[in-house]
């Protein structure tokens, strides 16, 4: 992995993470510190899965 692809991967993960994090904050009933923490963690897992899924589809 070159420096350029690593940067692209990081940017993609960050974009997925931000999108999923926002979605979480929209869907929960009350926004508090615990929800933000849990949402950020879940969004991080989701970002890794989303990138893996995206690569599996586009690499065909």
């Amino acid at each position: 992995m070159t420096r350029r692809t690593a940067l692209a991967a990081t940017a993609e993960l960050a974009a997925w993470w931000a999108a999923f994090g926002l979605l979480w904050l929209v869907l929960v009933s009350t926004v508090d510190a615990l929800e933000v923490l849990v949402g950020a963690s879940a969004a991080a897992v989701g970002a890794v899965a989303a990138r893996a899924g995206r690569r599996a589809v586009t690499a065909r």
Binding site: L23, L25, V26, L27, S29, V31, R60
Partner: protein, 150 residues
């Protein structure tokens, strides 16, 4: 009984009756279309009921249905691909009518909710509902035949 619950009752009563009749009679293509449109009837009804009863948690059910309904149709479309290739169901009129009803319900409920996080959630539900409906209808009509092997 208020206008929201009345609208939900009419939509559920008329829509689900028509859908039940559709899935229980006629050729396979018609049954598939009716099965697909069941989501487009039940999901807006849940949104109307959530507003009518002041129970925001009903929106979660609508969100889940909007997500899982089209997925169910895609499974049917995949498993019955050979039968559907012979008699392709074409129901763009019904599909766009359902999309229009869904959009109208989402806009009405959004207007009643006012700008807030709850409204964004309703819009997410609406996008999933209408987008999923269109994708599932296209899949039933063989629009994604090139991905059958994948």
């Amino acid at each position: 009984m208020n206008a929201w619950i009345l609208a939900a009752t009419i939509l559920l009563g008329a829509g689900l009756t028509a859908a039940l009749w559709g899935v229980a009679s006629g050729p396979l293509s018609r049954r598939m279309v009716a099965q697909n449109l069941t989501t487009a009837v039940a999901c807006p009804s849940l949104l109307l009921l959530a507003q009518g009863y002041h129970r925001p948690s009903y929106v979660d059910l609508a969100l889940l249905l909007a997500l899982l309904g089209p997925v169910g149709t895609l499974v049917f479309a995949r498993l019955l691909a050979d039968e559907l290739a012979v008699a392709t169901p074409a129901a763009w009129g019904l599909t766009w009518t359902a999309a229009g009803v869904s959009a109208a319900v989402v806009v009405a409920v959004c207007a009643a909710t006012g700008p807030s996080r709850a409204m964004v959630k309703l819009l997410v539900t609406g996008v999933l509902l209408i987008g999923g409906n269109l994708v599932a209808s296209r899949a039933l009509q063989g629009g994604f035949r090139q991905v059958r092997g994948g």
